[in-house]
């Protein structure tokens, strides 16, 4: 009987603690550091940039040109290894732009290898300063590709223009015209789709 009372008391204490935590988190939500989509959700979720995320030159007609050389720019996906896919929601992009108005095209490929449908909810660019601007390929603010990234290897592509703001005379640090920024996407579950997937759609 005593042991059973101990367990019952433990359950009550833990339940109160859990409730207090939930109330505390709600009350202090502005102090909690909440950013992006949680990477610690259960194993059903695995939406990430793939190694297909690359930088390209911008052709004369504004379309995607050849892939840039390493000296022009690189994309790092953080946890990507030399073989195998990346599992990162954040890409670090480093660009070397030569003159005001110079630009490159960042094409991101996002893959869903989880078991649930997902949809993009936004992109966040951080670290871009000192003359670097990131926009949609039509020079508009970044829009969201709301296509559903279906599960089991479904993919979604989004393009961004990375350019040296031509109203800013200097770019990068004092030794070279190089800047780095990070781009992070957020996503959430899509519970609306019940039929077979339609695949890639390029955000233009």
């Amino acid at each position: 009987m005593k042991k059973s009372n101990k367990k019952s008391r433990a359950i009550i204490v833990l339940a109160i603690l859990l409730l207090a935590l939930a109330v505390g988190y709600a009350a202090f939500q502005t102090q909690l550091l909440v950013s992006g989509t949680a990477t610690g959700a259960d194993v059903r979720w695995n939406v990430h940039f793939t190694n297909g995320t690359k930088l390209y030159e911008v052709a004369n007609d504004g379309s995607k040109g050849a892939e840039v050389a390493n000296t022009r720019g690189t994309v790092s996906l953080g946890t990507a290894s030399t073989t195998g896919v990346s599992h990162s929601q954040t890409a670090t992009v480093t660009v070397n732009l030569d003159y005001p108005g110079d630009e490159v095209l960042l094409e991101t490929v996002i893959e869903n290898t989880g078991t649930l449908d997902a949809k993009l909810t936004g992109f966040q660019v951080s670290g871009a300063s000192n003359g670097l601007i990131v926009t949609s390929p039509t020079n508009d603010p970044i829009t969201i590709n709301t296509d559903v990234i279906h599960k089991t290897n479904g993919t979604c592509t989004a393009q961004f223009l990375v350019k040296w703001d031509d109203t800013v005379p200097s770019f990068g640090n004092s030794t070279n015209h190089q800047q780095a920024f990070t781009i992070t996407f957020t996503y959430s579950q899509d519970t609306a789709t019940k039929t077979a997937p339609t695949l890639t759609h390029t955000d233009t």
Binding site: S4, V43, T83, S129, N173
Partner: protein, 390 residues
């Protein structure tokens, strides 16, 4: 209906075939929203109607449910508190009321039905066959949990495979051992409580911790394992024929503090706390830091570091530990000029504040060598894969 080993084996084969079929075709809306919940739900209803009720030790059953409830609450609390160290992100699950109902249908029904089916099948055979059937069902459920589509047609580095095994397979083994044990000595309730409540937290919380894979892998393995040890201990106490010394030997309370210390040490080594260890791989910071030393890094922002501090910063695929020789500010951003103590010149590129990880606050000699040897093995294996295309 009398107990029937033949009927049990037949149903186990049905489950195995269904599990196999569900892996070889693409998971689409029809499977997720219709076929999967209906299969498991219908099978559990059929078994509930057709198979006889089992009689369990009521006291043991009550105690097991209590232990399980404690374990579930501890799991959720530890998981929530971890977010204070690793920060939070928005929950990807649809946490609206409609979203919750849908997730209960597509995920909750199969989870609970599977545990009910496990219990019914185990209790549909005589005592001498219970353990065999329990093991077979556990193996089938583990095989169903594995996402084979991830591996077919892809090449993975060793670390990715270790991650998947640690996050999915090992926790699945731990849980299936636990649930099979509780199905033998109690009923389906403990397993259903554990599975449903832990998943329910994922479906309703608006925020979740950005937990590294190692943290969730450890939680998902250790808590079911400790729960199993407590339930086994409880069962031994209530079994009249058990030797007293044997009961004392199986008391898990003796090892809990050790397990907690080991977990905290692993999390510290993985850098989950505000201070973390790293191994020094080169001699560029001699005579302050030598190859093989451990440097304890305190995570901090640009405002917290100054000229003379030794900082760790991110580069493309690796990190560098060098001393700040100049600190600048341009357009609101901080930049650092860094230099290795043993190098003749400062580093080629300035370090942006976004690259800053933290500063060195302590060092320990020689302890970093094992990590360097392991890293060398990992790099060699990856290079082999690059060269051979495997």
């Amino acid at each position: 209906m009398q107990k029937s080993k033949l009927a049990t084996i037949f149903l186990v084969i049905i489950i195995l075939i269904y599990g196999f079929l569900s892996k070889i075709h693409d998971i689409n809306g029809l499977y997720l929203y219709v076929i999967n919940p209906l299969f498991w739900g219908a099978l559990s209803i059929i078994l509930a109607i057709s198979m006889r009720k089992s009689f369990e030790n009521k006291k043991l059953k009550r105690n097991i449910i209590q232990y399980t409830t404690v374990a579930v609450l501890v799991y959720i609390i530890v998981y929530m508190v971890s977010g204070l160290f690793v920060t939070f992100g928005r929950n990807p699950y649809n946490t609206s009321f409609i979203g919750l109902i849908k997730n209960i249908w597509i995920l909750g029904i199969p989870i609970c039905a599977k545990e009910f089916i496990r219990y019914k099948l185990i209790n549909n055979v005589y005592k001498k066959d219970e353990v065999k059937i329990a093991v077979i069902i556990a193996i089938i459920y583990i095989l169903i949990d594995i996402e084979y589509g991830k591996f077919i047609g892809h090449t993975y580095a060793t670390l990715s495979i270790i991650k998947y095994v640690s996050q999915v397979i090992i926790p699945s083994i731990a849980k299936n051992i636990l649930f099979s044990y509780t199905a033998i000595y109690s009923d389906a309730m403990p397993a259903m409580i554990y599975q449903f409540i832990t998943n329910l937290y994922y479906w309703i919380s608006p925020i979740l911790p950005n937990s590294p894979w190692a943290m969730t892998a450890i939680l998902d393995t250790v808590i079911p394992t400790i729960l199993f040890l407590y339930i086994r201990y409880e069962k031994n106490i209530l079994t009249p024929k058990k030797d007293r010394q044997e009961i004392i030997n199986t008391n898990p309370g003796n090892i809990i503090p050790l397990i907690i210390i080991i977990i905290l040490a692993i999390w510290f080594a993985l850098g989950l706390f505000p201070i973390k260890p790293i191994s020094i791989a080169t001699g560029s910071m001699e005579d302050e830091l030598f190859t093989g030393d451990i440097a304890i890094i305190k995570k901090c922002k640009a405002n917290d570091v100054n000229v003379g501090d030794i900082i760790e910063y991110k580069m493309d695929g690796y990190t560098v530990v060098h001393r700040i020789v100049e600190k600048k500010q341009k357009n609101g951003d901080f930049f650092f000029v860094t230099k290795g103590d043993k190098n003749n010149a400062p580093d080629k590129d300035e370090v942006n504040e976004n690259q800053l990880i933290g500063k060195v606050i302590f060092k320990i000699k020689y302890l970093g060598y094992p990590a360097l040897w392991f890293n060398k093995l990992k790099t060699e294996e990856e290079m082999i894969k690059v060269e051979t295309g495997q």
